[in-house]
Structure formats: C-alpha cells, structure tokens
C-alpha cells in the first residue's frame, strides 16, 4: 500500500492533514512536497491525523520532525492524532513529537487547539 495524503481546508490558522498507508524511504519526499506549501503559509498549527498510517520508518519520522521544526521556528506547533500502536512506538523511541502533543483522537487534538486559541484570545483582550 502506498502513501495517501489528504489535506483538509485550513480552519482558524489550523490545518489538518490525514496521512495513510506507508511513510518510508520511497514515499517521504511526496509528503515533504505536499506539506511544503502549508509550512510556507501562515498556519500556526498542523494536525497530522495518522489513523490510517500503517507503517513508518526513520525517513518518514524525519519528514514529520522536519515539519515540526519548521513550525516551531516561527512559534507554531505540530500535533499528532490517533497513531496506531506500532507508529506510536516508533515516535516514542526517537522522541519525534513530545507525548503531550500526541492525541488519541482528532476530537482531543481539536479540543486542545480550541483551548490554546481561547488562551490566545483572552491574552489579547487583557492587553
């Protein structure tokens, strides 16, 4: 099975991307290519929905880490939702994404982002 990448419309500066299949040495460049315009845009958060991702190797982890690094450099963040156990294990071993930025469902990731957004809005009103 090959890689599938579905980019959903950005909402409130947050972009959701569903990645499925195999993210490996053959397919990571395709992910890099599809994420590049998103990383160059003004989004502040990128949520990777990994529910259908079945396989990842270090080449794939590198792509995710690179995206996280690009967002972090401008104060943005990358969240991971719903990784299967074998994917979660790989992420844990190489500490690609901090545990508190990995969520068991998209709903949890959304709730986290909403809470962040609320905090930002409240902060703005306090000024």
């Amino acid at each position: 099975m090959n890689l599938s990448v579905q980019i959903q419309p950005a909402n409130n500066g947050s972009q959701r991307v569903a990645i499925g299949g195999r993210l490996d040495t053959h397919s990571y460049q395709e992910l890099d290519r599809q994420l590049a315009p998103l990383l160059a845009s003004a989004i502040h958060s990128l949520v990777l929905d990994l529910a259908n991702l079945e396989y990842i190797s270090s080449a794939g982890v590198r792509s995710v880490f690179k995206a996280r690094k690009a967002l972090a450099a401008r104060g943005g963040r990358l969240l991971v939702a719903h990784p299967q156990p074998q994917i979660q294990k790989v992420f844990d071993v190489v500490k690609a994404v901090p545990l508190n930025e990995i969520f068991s469902s998209m709903a949890e990731a959304d709730a986290y982002l909403d809470a962040m957004q609320q905090k930002v809005l409240r902060g703005d009103e306090d000024e």
């Binding site: 040495t25 190797s57 972090a72 071993v93 190489v94």
Partner: protein, 142 residues
C-alpha cells in the same frame, strides 16, 4: 524455520524485499506489530548499507536470512559493500532543544532500540549484521 532471501542491492528492490519478508512472517503467524518492526529494521539496515557502503559502478547484492526459533526472530543481513559498522555511529541527542536537533541519524537508533540483540562482524568481504527481535510484542499498557 529458516529462509534466505537475496536481492540486488538497489533502493528500488527494497519494496520487493520487504514484501517477501512480510509474506514469510505472515505465513509463520508472526504478530503484525512485530512484522512492522522487522520491515522497519530491514529498511533501515539496507538503506544505511546503500548510503554508506555502495561502490559506484559495481553490482552489490544483499542477502537476508530469517530464522524463527521459539520466541525469537533472527535477521542476518549480509552485503559486499565497503566495511561499515552501523553500531559505531554515535547515538543522537533526543533531548536537545528542537531548534538544535538534527533531523537525521534516527535509523540506527531505532534498530538498536527495537532489537533484543544486535551484533556486527566484517567477515571477509562481507558486512554481517545480526539483529534479534522477539516474536511477541512486549506487554503494552492497557
């Protein structure tokens, strides 16, 4: 159970090799989570051997021996590339700040962490890397 697979050592052949290994593991009833780790180890080892050891203009071949005994899977990778011991590579600093962390160097670390045992030997003109994995995934937290 013991089986030996041989493929030309080219990146394009990796998919075939992984598919063949996966077929063997499925036939032997190996847990899919463990099959994932075996595929991962194979990809990392073969890609590293290609990246560091390939001699331009020469045909290389890699063989992978798979032995399943009791609750252990032993993978033996043998290639005729330049001598390269992946175990001599330093571990990446995973706790460094994200801005300072390099994006590479994770493959060997992954293989070491997933393996129950790992050893390297240069035997004549061959690199031989032996990686042992458990056939049952370790107990996962409920």
């Amino acid at each position: 159970m013991h089986i030996l697979l041989q493929v030309p050592q080219e990146e394009g052949q990796l998919g075939d090799l992984v598919a063949a290994i996966d077929g063997v593991l499925a036939r032997e009833g190996v847990h899919p989570g463990v099959a994932h780790d075996v595929q991962l180890v194979t990809e990392e080892v073969v890609c590293n051997a290609l990246d560091y050891g390939r001699i331009e203009g020469r045909q290389h071949e890699i063989s992978v021996g798979i032995a399943i005994e009791g609750d252990l899977i032993t993978l033996e990778f043998k290639d005729d590339c330049v001598a390269f011991n992946p175990l001599e590579r330093p571990d990446p600093d995973l706790d460094a700040d994200i801005a300072d962390r390099p994006v590479g160097g994770l493959g060997v670390h992954l293989v070491r962490q997933l393996a129950e045992e790992i050893s390297y030997a240069r035997e004549g003109v061959h690199n031989v890397l032996r990686v042992v994995l458990r056939t049952e995934p370790p107990g996962r937290p409920a």
